[in-house]
Subunit: 316 residues, 2 copies
């Protein structure tokens, strides 16, 4: 990590506008799309965000010697899936959130039916983008399979189902997160492994598939795919740990979404199970391992190293 | 129509069990999928249904000289999209229905969060099924694009958004459907065309894409695709008209879902705008035209003719 020459800010400033323009172009949506539905889709998709997942697609493509431009459809597809999942996760029946990326959530800005349908419409648009734009067809097909698996019942949707369920169970018992640490010390390992299992599926799978799509579009070989997956597994956990830490330590204004909610809901979190200090140490160690996993790519993976460092140090 | 030799019952009895077995096999879903989520997906997907859309895939493939077996993945994919759309349409924030296919709707049998996620997980599974199983890759890609468009913002999701919106507007004005006929006689054509536009997108697009997928898998040419699309446009309307008629004329027990709800909600319907008799006549005429459109396929299209006749005469 000493040799990180590229900063995340530079990467974000150079690639961010390209990603936003590409998302904008793919959501103009012509005849037949009701104006309000299009507006809701664009409201959530184009809301200011860190664009971590599309950046991972593009940086993975670059690490494997591919072009940013050919990877852009895949970058858009993962961001569409991510935006849909945020819209649905925020619904009253799920996490019931009012604020996201510093603005009212989709169902608050529009209405619940429109929010459900905006998510439902972003999902097929992601697959349409891959199928229509990725070349050759065999690569497009492989990308569709990988993205569908990451978003599906065994990964993102399943992780969210388990997460909602775990929160509900703790709610019913009236257990708060800081109590959880004491009460369940004996079952520490069980909770740690359940927590990692939820996050590997809920957050990790989309992070890993982002890297995979970028690499596939760039024609990566199995060794490169495996190295990026090692990086992605660790980055996904770092992402979740820092998310949990920010939920405890940040204010609503800094984060642009409600904070302190994990504890209120009795959700399993890393600081809740490991404590603040050990969570921070664990995240640092994972970043070192993530950077080591992509050492073989040389300077072409500088962007991935800078991004991992950013995820560790981010304050929102 | 005089030369219909195959009955819908025969078709349904021979192909129905094959479709159900194929759907069952594709929703076993291994590691990572929470049991409750899998149960909810299967509850809705495998509920007794007419399987009109997968039958259209298989019958279109047969009309174009293709094999039932190679078209089966596409048949499963359209039924997965259909099942997801029913789950989400039934949600409290949408049509708020308690009964579907004679059993409690998914969010009643499970809970709202699980129902949203079951729909969200069926959607990518449909694309995974196409991408993984359809050969060659170029055909798989074309199938993904076609299905994504049919399910997306400009078609199914958009039609549903307009439908919910139209219902809400009429609710607010306190207008009931039978009043609508009198009040809006002068704007009859506007309403008729809005109604057809909603249904072409909400129901019609999925019916047409079912035929298209079956035909593409069978290697159909442009002339065959166009003929099936003509058939599909008409069948989609017949389907909606008879659905509207059944909502007025049937009992809840016969239909396995709540009836009379369109009028209560002030939804635009064919009997509401054309009256009962003219709606029935219109449906008959459309079936004649649909059968004429597939005349060129000869006896290979007998199944499609039988299905159109069934849709006209069905009582649930």
């Amino acid at each position: 990590m000493q040799n990180v020459t590229l900063s995340f800010t530079e990467i974000s400033q150079s690639l961010g506008p390209l990603i936003d323009a590409a998302l904008d172009a793919r959501t103009q949506l012509g005849d037949g799309c009701p104006a309000r539905l299009r507006e809701a889709m664009r409201y959530s998709l184009l809301a200011p965000g860190k664009r971590i997942r599309p950046l991972l697609v593009l940086l993975a493509a670059r690490a494997c010697g591919g072009e940013i431009e050919s990877a852009m459809p895949a970058a858009c597809a993962v961001e569409m899936i991510h935006a849909y999942s945020l819209i649905h996760d925020d619904l009253p029946a799920m996490d019931d959130d009012d604020l996201r990326r510093g603005q009212p959530t989709c169902h608050k800005a529009f209405d619940e039916a429109t929010a459900i349908l905006a998510g439902d419409a972003l999902l097929p648009l992601a697959f349409e983008t891959l199928a229509r734009e990725i070349e050759p067809p065999a690569t497009a097909v492989a990308c569709c399979v990988a993205l569908a698996q990451a978003a599906g019942a065994c990964n993102m949707a399943g992780g969210q189902a388990d997460d909602v369920e775990a929160g509900k169970r703790n709610d019913e018992c009236g257990i708060m997160n800081d109590e959880l640490t004491n009460i369940q010390h004996s079952s520490f390992n069980i909770h740690h492994s359940l927590l990692e299992s939820i996050h590997h599926r809920k957050t990790g799978a989309m992070i890993r598939v982002s890297l995979r799509l970028g690499a596939m579009v760039a024609g990566a070989d199995e060794v490169e795919l495996a190295a990026l997956d090692e990086y992605g597994r660790r980055l996904g956990l770092v992402f979740q740990i820092t998310d949990d830490l920010l939920d405890v330590q940040s204010t609503e204004v800094e984060m642009g979404k409600r904070t302190g909610k994990d504890a209120r809901r009795g959700k399993l979190t890393f600081p809740g199970i490991l404590g603040l200090d050990r969570s921070t140490q664990y995240a640092r160690q994972l970043v070192v391992e993530a950077c080591r996993a992509v050492a073989g790519f040389g300077p072409q993976a500088d962007g991935l190293r800078a991004l991992a460092q950013y995820v560790l140090e981010r304050n929102r």
